[in-house]
Symmetry: C2
Subunit: 235 residues, 2 copies
């Protein structure tokens, strides 16, 4: 054979491949698993090559986050916009929350730099346009969107924390983790911790998504009241 196909092949990359493999790595093994060396070996190339496409790890994470948001926006592009602004807001917020939960690492980065993640702005805009339909003052509109966004992302971050290197062997491990906490709590003095004891059994086996929706509905209920009542009292 006269072909020059012998010798070690050099890897061929692309920005899409770099971002894509980074997201895959993050999703599969968590934030701690994303290292330039691990990423390079996934790409089948050298470590330094990544810097041709991305100038730092910060930029890599910003781009990865933005890419996930792009996918989210495409997937929810034609969400059935409800007649009720609050129902529309709820749909968008739930969809955003669910997508962040699929990529627990990204919550932290969504709020960091709006310039580095241009598409995050579009997600904000969509939420904002629903709230605008409530005809409140610019200030109240801004506060309402901020509240919903803070709750969505904040809750997603809270729930998406990586466990502190504890036992995570078998599947269904989540239940036993919750049960372990509950065990500790049950040992607390019921006189001193009446609330904890009241909700222990609710906590065990609770569903994060249900918990999120319940909190969101509280905000939306408050928003319905506020928007129907006084038009933007100061403070």
């Amino acid at each position: 054979m006269a072909g020059a196909s012998q010798g070690r092949r050099r890897a061929v990359h692309s920005l899409e491949a770099v971002i894509g493999e980074a997201i895959a790595l993050l999703d599969e093994a968590g934030e701690g698993a994303l290292t330039f060396r691990a990423l390079a070996s996934r790409l089948g190339g050298g470590v330094a090559s990544i810097y041709w496409y991305v100038s730092s790890k910060d930029e890599l994470l910003d781009r990865a986050t933005d890419q996930v948001v792009v996918d989210h926006l495409e997937r929810t592009e034609d969400l059935p916009r409800a007649a009720d602004p609050l129902a529309g807001l709820r749909e968008l917020a739930v969809a955003l929350f669910d997508d962040i939960r699929l990529h627990p690492w990204m919550g932290k980065y969504m709020m960091r730099d709006a310039e580095a993640q241009p598409h995050v702005m579009i997600a904000y805009e969509r939420l904002g346009e629903q709230v605008m339909r409530l005809d409140m003052s610019p200030r109240d509109t801004f506060h309402a969107v901020s509240a919903v966004l803070g709750f969505v992302i904040g809750t997603a971050i809270d729930l998406g924390q990586e466990p502190p290197a504890g036992a995570d062997l078998a599947a269904g491990d989540r239940d036993s983790g919750l049960e372990a906490y509950a065990e500790t709590w049950r040992a607390l003095d019921p006189e001193k911790f009446p609330y904890i004891h009241l909700i222990i059994e609710e906590f065990v086996g609770h569903d994060d998504a249900v918990q999120f929706r319940a909190g969101l509905d509280l905000i939306l209920e408050g928003l319905r009241r506020t928007s129907a009542g006084e038009p933007g009292a100061d403070d």
Copy 2:
């Protein structure tokens, strides 16, 4: 002189000193500044000595967070408990938010491991006891406390992000930072981004604390409605 005071003195530490200096370091220079070497030089000792008191950086951060919570609990021990449960809940939530904002690094760690931070549980308990006075079902009580907590900590995390190594030279720089964002946003197409354009001027010069209180009041308003109305409808 017959004294044996020559030669290099060995440093004398204590758990309180280690935690205290760690907190000081975090508060003064941010999360990235807390390294074992920096901490050791602050304590005037060697790096390895810190491991006598603390077995890992994770434990150090857990203990530091818990210590800040202890101080918070002491400071707010006798908050004037309002007659209205929601007013009491509001007081506690605002106090917690303000204290977290004084230590922006700690928000991330508060949710991580309840066992490693025993006093965080007490803060939860206090919030829960106010909500209990609303006489809702255990499930609704649990959801309400989770919502408030998620909003408090989530918002504190969002607002406490370290800027991505941008220009942070002079004081009053915050305004110019906001203004820089606003500049970018004003360049967006008003047709495509009506919400962004509506709130740009509200965003510039907005007060984080006011923004937080507005969101909190939405939740509380919703909570008032929900607790007065149907007694815990199933989703």
